[in-house]
Amino acid sequence: MTVLEIRDLSVEYGLGEAAVHAVRHVDLDVPRSRVLGIAGESGSGKSTLVYGFTRLLRWPGVVAGGSAVLHVLGDDGSESDVDLLGATERELRSIRWSQISVVLQSALSALNPVRRIAKEFDEVLRVHRSRLDRRGRRARAVELLEMVGLDEDRLDRFPHELSGGQRQRIMIALALALDPQLVIMDEPTTALDVVTQREIVDQLFELRQRLGFAMIFITHDLSLLVELADEIAVMYAGEIVERASAAELHGAPRHPYTLGLINSFPPMHGARQELVGLPGAPADLANLPTGCSFHPRCAWAMEICKTESPKAQPVGDTGRLVACWLHDGIHEVPVELRRSVPERHPL
């Protein structure tokens, strides 16, 4: 029961020799009503991936290959497939917002500054829910605002009259206006304070529980993802280097980059000790290293890593995928990368 299937998706900026390979051969499945987290640093391709399969990419971004299929569940329970990359503009228009919606990081630039909030709701409902009259649309807008914990009077405000958290709640209410099956959150809380972030994340979870949509949650904050995602994919230099359940990924990472990323967050508990994090700087997409793109920063880099890029392989029997030569069954796996999942994770 997947809602989205992505196979071998590649996205590039520019053409030919000068192309920047922003997303390379990504496979992803999003199960219905589940949360897939995508973690990565800036430039890892996590946003480009989303823009690629939602067809929101602008020139010079081009989808260079692969497929993305959305399984749309009809009211009668039947499934129909939409080939997102092959769909015409007309087909796209019918599924955008109603089946897939996106919440972006900056709510301020996503809302029209010279329009009252009510207008944003009114417009989408008028186009997609034409049987609703004016009063019906207003009622639906009030209902949506209430869902995200805002009072009706916010509808008559302009975006600049609201706080960052309120604006982001409005974006979420808008994204849910047409009961989509898949909601994509691209760093929705990065610009917000930690207290506001907590409120919004909690709210999202109540809503997902109630409405049952699937979610792709993109962020650089791995600790946040561990709390809220069912499954996490870690991206580095345009590739998914590890994909596993949240508890497995955080409690027992298998890829050296995942381990380094986890160790880059100072803990909120326990004795203070010096952490090392990761040496070097994130890979330059315009000038990728040969072989595994992480090898220049990897403590366990071997000869093969410098020449050949590892493919994602299943590790263990829980469906975890890891793209690393250390886990090819021939090489000795370092002790740091074969810990078992701690019991205390009740996730």
Partner: protein
């Protein structure tokens, strides 16, 4: 407390007047950006100031750097009072250096890194002959080696993490005694933040630098701080030696802040004690405690009278009426105001 403070601030306060257009009438409003903040920066110690956006932490850093003139309050450098409101002069800037959040915006983009660093030295009266040695020295202190491979590049050719190190090197090359770091890692990639934090820590440990570390990232404060201060709406609401206030928060605001931090190692942190009233959230009380409109423990007194700082433990103070009468070492645990979010 070890050595005497290098830089000391007493009751620093800064008000801004803003004009709001309201129905054609223009009104003046006072924003109390920072009010009555005192702190001491001592050799070898990192003082962390934690606060959310709008808490006044950056205005505080700018007052300490004397870029913003305080409305009132006193500043002492090595015990000597500073005449505020006068030109700050080179002596002050040599001793007290500020590092900002965005390294790309803090460098002149049309000049080489070398020029950016040399300029700082020349302004402070260095002789040309000694420049190469001093530049190499500063670059080595921030672990950018070999220096030549960074000095002869333009700022845009370096990564964010490298350029922030350059920015710290520029501050260091005039041999300051106080380093004010305003969110030095929040714009950097997650994987390179630790490197910069470790440099800030080692400058305090190895070179006796008195350091102010301003951040909204509580975990990073916990990682390097010798003393921690929490600001809310321009005021210090809680302070403690070490990171006591992070491990045992006393003030309701600090408790809320810490409960909100994503913490994968503590599964109980999922529920947050939040007062869900968006209307009140925007407001900061004019009288009484500024946190009262959001506080789950608010009492009548909080709405009318501003609390002083009460001692709640060794080297630990909380500006909250809950802690009057020396309610020592009994930090109130916030009860969860709602059930934990159900997990799938």
């Amino acid at each position: 407390m070890s050595a005497s403070p290098i830089l000391e601030a007493r009751s620093l306060t800064r008000y801004f007047t803003v004009r709001t257009g309201d129905g054609g009438r223009r009104r003046k409003r006072i924003v109390r950006a920072v009010e009555d903040v005192s702190l001491s920066l001592r050799p070898s110690r990192v003082t962390a100031v934690v606060g959310e956006s709008g808490s006044g932490k950056s205005v505080l850093a700018r007052m300490l750097a004397r870029i913003v003139t305080p409305t009132s309050g006193e500043l002492f450098l090595r015990g000597q009072p500073i005449a505020l409101g006068t030109k700050r002069g080179l002596d002050y800037t040599r001793d007290v250096q500020l590092v900002l959040q965005d390294p790309f915006a803090s460098m002149n983009p049309v000049h080489l890194v070398r020029h950016n660093l040399e300029r700082a030295l020349l302004i402070h009266g260095a002789r040309r002959a000694e420049l190469p040695a001093r530049l190499s020295g500063a670059m080595a202190r921030v672990q950018l080696t070999p220096p030549e491979s960074f000095l002869d590049r333009f700022p845009h050719e370096l990564s964010g993490g490298q350029l922030q190190r350059v920015s710290i090197a520029r501050a260091l090359c005039v041999e300051p005694q106080v380093l004010l770091a305003d969110e030095p890692v929040s714009m950097l990639d997650v994987s390179v933040r630790l490197g910069v934090l470790n440099i800030v820590r080692s400058l305090a440990d190895d070179e006796r630098m008195a350091t102010l570390y301003i951040t909204h990232d509580i975990a990073s404060a916990r990682y390097i701080a010798d003393e921690t201060i929490v600001m809310y709406a321009g005021q210090v609401v809680e302070r403690s030696d070490g990171v006591t206030l992070i491990d045992e928060p006393a003030h309701p605001y600090t408790q809320l802040l810490i409960a909100s931090v994503p913490d994968p190692s503590d599964p109980t942190s999922v529920a947050s004690p939040v007062v869900r009233d968006e209307g009140a959230r925007l407001g900061v009380a004019d009288v009484g405690c500024r946190f009262a409109p959001r506080c789950p423990f608010v009492m009548d007194r909080c709405r009318s009278e501003e609390p002083p700082a009460f001692v709640v433990g060794s080297g630990h103070e909380s500006k909250c009426w809950l802690h009057r009468d020396g309610a020592v070492a009994t930090p109130v645990k916030v009860a969860n105001s709602h059930e934990g979010v159900p997990r799938a």
